[in-house]
Amino acid sequence: MNPLRTSRAVVAAAAAVVLSVTSTGLANAAAGAPRDSGDNGKIVVGIKFDQPGIGLKTPDGKYTGFDVDVATYVAKQLGHDPKDIEWKEAKSADRETLLQRGDVDFIAASYSITPKRAEKVDFAGPYLLAHQDVLIRADDDSIKKPSDLNNKKLCSVTGSTSAQNVKDKIAPNAQLQQYGGYSECLTGLENGVIDAVTTDDAILAGYAAQPEFKGKFKLGGFKMSNENYGIGVQKGSDLKAKINTALEKMVADGSWQAAVDKNLGPSGYQNEPAPKIGVIVQ
């Protein structure tokens, strides 16, 4: 046997594997040109991609929700056309990191202002006062007040504080199921395995407003905590003041209420009046 020929055959074969697997992949990777870091009108905004009514990537590739509308308005006030906004997914755990690294210009992603987070990033706003609430089946009459949650089966997402809050303070005998996303909780609620999904009422309202769930679920209306949604910016960024001005204008000209009604209204969500900028309700 001829060693040279063998090795060539092997190399050729290996190259064939590699090429066939990567030909499409590499072409595509090369096509994804890096984002212009220059200031030619582009702005990168972090939002949630999977929260109906708040921030949702819809099947036509667009983004809808209250956070999206607020961010669009703010970006416009900052001098950016809606088409110049690049939306980036900001998962809960990633938000501080995204801001600290400058991957996004600002984040509007059901981002509650807390002292720990405020150590890492700056917050403009708040622009919405939400409360921790529960979503229950429409025909469930057994949950009328927070203490009714005792011995019930609650669901929330992994690592979130809201579920822990109920268990620690309001209904110590409640059982807690945690999933990677709210969708799994809703499947459980629909199946009757879960009695109540708990998180901020604004998020729950978005789910309840979905056409698939019309008339199936309702909000408890319990107001178990105060969540001040702020717009996160990099520590020390001059964007904070500008965004605050934009938010004040948004409330003043009625766009704020319109955005609330459009995104959260359909579920019968009773919103709090627009919060005063810089006032955090404890």
């Binding site: 046997m1 055959a9 092997v10 590499l26 595509n28 999977d50 990537k57 099947p59 980036k88």
Partner: protein
């Protein structure tokens, strides 16, 4: 390891065959009962409702917006990782067989270190490092981080595959090569490696499948929009049809990996037909045996295939 006459039992006679048929029928009945139970329960809980599954069949936008771009990312990340990890792994594996103790032990420590740390954490660190020390655009950084994590981990595992593959070759090959005056490098590149590649293919392939599946880790925490991560926005849009979404994604993963393994086994058969092998096979088992940190017993010869 393919279907071949086994020595574990006799060729079934008429009675054994009847018994086999009986067993098979019982088994099928049991399986059918389970399937029926699952389907009935799903229907009972409204999970088979057409509304939950319809988007995948009637709405092309589901594929265009969520699944296909995500699948593309999964394939890119997996392909890049394979392309980089294979040569790097081969290189590390050869270094571990070096005659110089320093080279051997350095390569050994690198391999052991990267194998012991969860891949997800390797990815997180790569992401942080790229953000800190390079100006890779934030859009591409998750991909870079995922590929880096996968390459570091899998190159280490592949290094063991390569080492096992080379050790599995008959020593006569090296002796003969030495006898005709080849140098160490020549022996490796012209004699050992070409033969080892065919012997290693089964183990290589199972590691490649691992790479494909592990791209999903990037979606969990790095914001890399790969296939599994596409479930979340998708299910949020269609009334929390989580079961349908996860099922579709699982099927795509199976298809992807099945295509990969099928292609590889075709390649393996072609290489073997060329009679350019000693018949040595390194299964996953031989590699895993080497792979345990600490002691490394000599590789067994696999059964000839």
């Amino acid at each position: 390891m393919k279907d071949k006459p086994t020595v574990l039992y006799d060729v079934p006679g008429p009675r054994a065959r009847r018994r086999n048929v009986l067993w098979s029928v019982l088994f099928l009945i049991g399986l059918a009962a389970v399937v029926w139970w699952v389907a009935a329960s799903l229907a009972d809980k409204n999970q088979l409702a057409w509304a939950k599954w319809a988007p995948f069949f009637t709405d092309a936008r589901v594929w265009e917006t969520y699944i296909l771009p995500a699948l593309k990312n999964t394939v890119i990340a997996a392909a890049l990782s394979m392309v980089i990890a294979l040569p790097l792994g081969a290189f590390l594996g050869i270094l571990r067989l070096s005659d110089h103790i320093v080279v051997r032990s350095v390569a050994g420590s690198v391999v052991e270190f990267f194998r012991a740390i969860p891949v997800l954490i390797l990815m997180l660190f790569a992401d942080a490092a790229y953000s800190e020390f390079t100006d890779i655009s934030p859009d591409n950084r998750p991909l870079y981080a995922v590929v880096t994590g996968l390459v570091l981990y899998n190159a280490s595992v592949l290094a063991e595959v390569v080492r096992a593959g080379i050790l599995a070759l008959p020593t006569g090959q090296t002796d003969a090569a030495k006898a005709i005056g080849m140098r160490k490098g020549q022996i490796m590149t012209h004699v050992l490696l070409p033969q080892a590649v065919t012997a290693m293919l089964p183990a290589l392939v199972s590691q490649l499948v691992v790479i494909v599946k592990d791209t999903a880790l990037g979606g969990a925490m790095l914001g890399f929009s790969e296939l599994l991560a596409s479930v979340r926005p998708m299910s949020a849009n269609y009334g929390a049809n989580t079961i349908a979404c996860f099922t579709v994604v699982a099927v795509i993963f199976i298809a992807l990996n099945f295509a990969l393994t099928t292609f590889a086994s075709r390649l393996e058969r072609r290489l073997r037909r060329g009679k350019k092998t000693t018949g040595a096979v390194v299964g996953v088992e031989a590699v895993e045996e080497l792979a345990a940190p600490g002691e490394h017993p000599d590789t067994r010869r696999g059964p000839s295939g």
